[in-house]
């Protein structure tokens, strides 16, 4: 009885959750320049505009990819040593570092965006795409920090003791025991940053200083002129990317565990 109500409630929630997404996807098929639902004169021409013909969108997509992949790589490289220090020493310093590293993600993004805008203004990175990459890496570093920490904590201490007994140095143990066992968690962290960077625009707005635009920033900038069906194509692309990425994480990693599920039950 209770179980049935639970399932019905889940289904209802899923419908509401999917509603605006379905509407946006439908609006992408509009033949005219206006966004209506259901679409009028359905056509797939908007997909061509977004991916091939309109340079505004192809440039923006290119920038989005550069920023997302750059930021994800950098965030993982920054998070690894912090997570490792926290796990191997548990020192006060490593706790402070982890806390400060998560700070930008925890506060409202507009505040960090304003701060970075000033920061790059003084250091000469304002409007440079590499500054955008660094900004997103810092903003989203908290995510690989969490996933890698979960991975490190999942390592069986017996393996480490065995390695030490057999005379392995810290470096060897790291390469042969720690690193291989944490690869799935590192990749999950990478993907989380990738997807969130792809979708972020407030921080990007402040650090890009209108000299380049990512896809979400381009849409944000044209808010005042109203939406066009081409933007809906962008939305579809982003949803598809998210679903693919998280499915990959679920397929090759342990998604419930990453999200903090209890390990003793299945």
């Amino acid at each position: 009885m209770m179980r049935g109500i639970g399932h019905i409630y889940m289904a209802l929630s899923a419908i509401v959750l999917a509603l605006p997404i379905v509407v946006v996807c439908g609006a992408a098929l509009n033949g005219g320049r206006t966004m209506t639902f259901p679409p009028r004169e359905p056509t797939l021409a908007r997909f061509g505009e977004f991916f091939i013909y309109e340079t505004v969108w192809t440039n923006a997509l290119g920038n989005s990819l550069i920023v997302a992949f750059g930021a994800a790589t950098l965030a993982v490289l920054l998070a690894w040593p912090i997570a490792y220090l926290l796990w191997s020493t548990g020192s006060r310093l490593s706790q402070v570092l982890a806390g400060l590293g998560s700070l930008p993600f925890a506060v409202p993004p507009i505040v960090f965006g304003v701060g970075l805008g000033f920061f790059w203004g003084f250091t000469g990175g304002l409007g440079e795409i590499w500054a955008g990459v660094v900004s997103h890496a810092i903003l989203l570093m908290a995510l690989p920090l969490v996933t890698i920490s979960i991975g490190l904590r999942a390592i069986d201490r017996a393996h480490l003791d065995a390695a030490a007994t057999m005379g392995a140095t810290e470096a060897v143990t790291f390469r042969t025991v720690v690193l291989p066992q944490t690869v799935p968690y590192t990749i999950s962290g990478f993907f989380f940053v990738l997807v969130l960077s792809f979708n972020e625009f407030i921080v990007m707005f402040f650090v890009s200083a209108s000299s380049y635009a990512t896809v979400t920033l381009q849409i944000f900038n044209s808010l005042r002129n109203g939406y066009t069906p081409t933007m809906a194509v962008a939305a579809i692309t982003f949803i598809v990317v998210s679903v693919l990425v998280f499915s990959a994480v679920a397929r090759w990693g342990d998604l419930p565990r990453l999200m903090g599920a209890d390990q003793s039950r299945n």
Partner: protein, 327 residues
């Protein structure tokens, strides 16, 4: 790239090769500390420092140490002759929208997450993919979707009209109530602009977050407790009220706080769905720093006030989560 430069020295240390691993582990923490301080702390310090700066008419701004901006925020420029609470009112709207939307999200996400944790591991993973995908979806796309759904020419108002729901509402007299609430014009229902649409969209924005945040706590609930209560003859609702809810009280409160902090910075949903007279501090920050007003110090002041509000809530939420984990 500057970050790579920053990492290099500790990694590429070539002196004393015999003790290289030892040195590496000693230098690394300090290199990291410098990097984190530079990128995670300095931007916030800059915001705080600039909030005491002064705008020059017709130009940019200069460093200064004046409390004018803070005075302007709390009581207006002309104080003590004249007092305006415009900016406090904006902060009030920030809080109002964020409080209602986060509570709404947590209340509706709780039963969903409870049901989710009872599913098989595989099913949970599939649902989590769905939840995470909608969580990561950019605010611009979500607002776009709700905008189409709620705008007057398409979506729900058009649906109301064509299905005759509008006429029915008029016939039973509820239409006048909707008009009093600002959710209808003389001809049809309207949701833009309204607090209803703003809060609905904001609540939707954080709903997946609330599922993800509640998930660990709920999946650790011991099912034997509620089974025991049931064996002793307690009904489903009694179990929920006396066993389940009390044991997740703290995570519930902590989650609400985190969502509240997240929503304090909402920008797009407010500009699209809220009436300009009911705009929030986040919108004001934007228009001062990059928009029409170009008063960076005052924008920074508002950012500091938002930051302080957010930090207080975060610390509170963190403490609560610690408690709940310790128990």
């Amino acid at each position: 790239m500057s970050v790579a430069d920053g990492i290099d020295p500790p990694l590429g240390e070539e002196t004393a090769p015999a003790r290289a691993p030892f040195r590496w582990s000693r230098v690394l923490p300090w290199g990291l500390t410098a990097l984190i301080a530079l990128f995670c702390v300095v931007p916030f310090l800059l915001v705080i420092a600039i909030s005491f700066g002064r705008k020059i008419e017709g130009a940019a701004w200069v460093w200064d140490f004046t409390f004018e901006n803070y005075q302007r925020f709390f009581v207006g420029t002309l104080w003590p002759d004249e007092v305006t609470f415009l900016y406090l009112q904006q902060l009030g709207y920030s809080f109002w929208y964020a409080v209602i939307a986060s509570i709404l999200a947590v209340i509706t996400a709780l039963p969903f997450t409870l049901a989710l944790t009872r599913l098989s591991r595989r099913a949970q993973a599939a649902w989590l993919v769905f939840i995470l995908s909608s969580l990561s979806l950019s605010e611009v796309f979500i607002v776009m979707g709700w905008d189409i759904l709620l705008s007057n020419n398409s979506g729900l108002p058009a649906l109301f009209k064509s299905t005759g729901l509008t006429d029915w509402l008029k016939a039973v007299g509820w239409f006048d109530t909707l008009r009093e609430w600002g959710l209808a014009n003389p001809r049809n229902v309207k949701f833009k602009t309204s607090e209803f649409a703003t809060i609905l969209t904001m609540s939707y924005l954080v709903w997946p977050y609330s599922v993800i945040l509640l998930y660990p706590a709920l999946s650790r609930l011991d099912p034997s407790l509620s089974e025991a209560a049931r064996t002793m003859g307690a009904g489903n609702l009694t179990v929920l009220r006396t066993v389940t809810l009390p044991s997740v009280r703290l995570p519930l409160f902590g989650t609400t706080l985190l969502l509240f902090v997240f929503l304090l910075g909402t920008y797009v949903a407010i500009t699209v769905f809220a009436d300009p007279s009911k705009h929030t501090t986040a919108v004001a920050i934007y228009s001062n720093v990059r928009g029409a007003n170009l008063n960076a110090p005052f924008g920074a002041t508002q950012a500091v006030i938002l930051l302080v509000s957010a930090s207080v809530c975060l610390v509170l939420g963190h403490t609560l989560n610690r408690w709940s984990e310790a128990r």
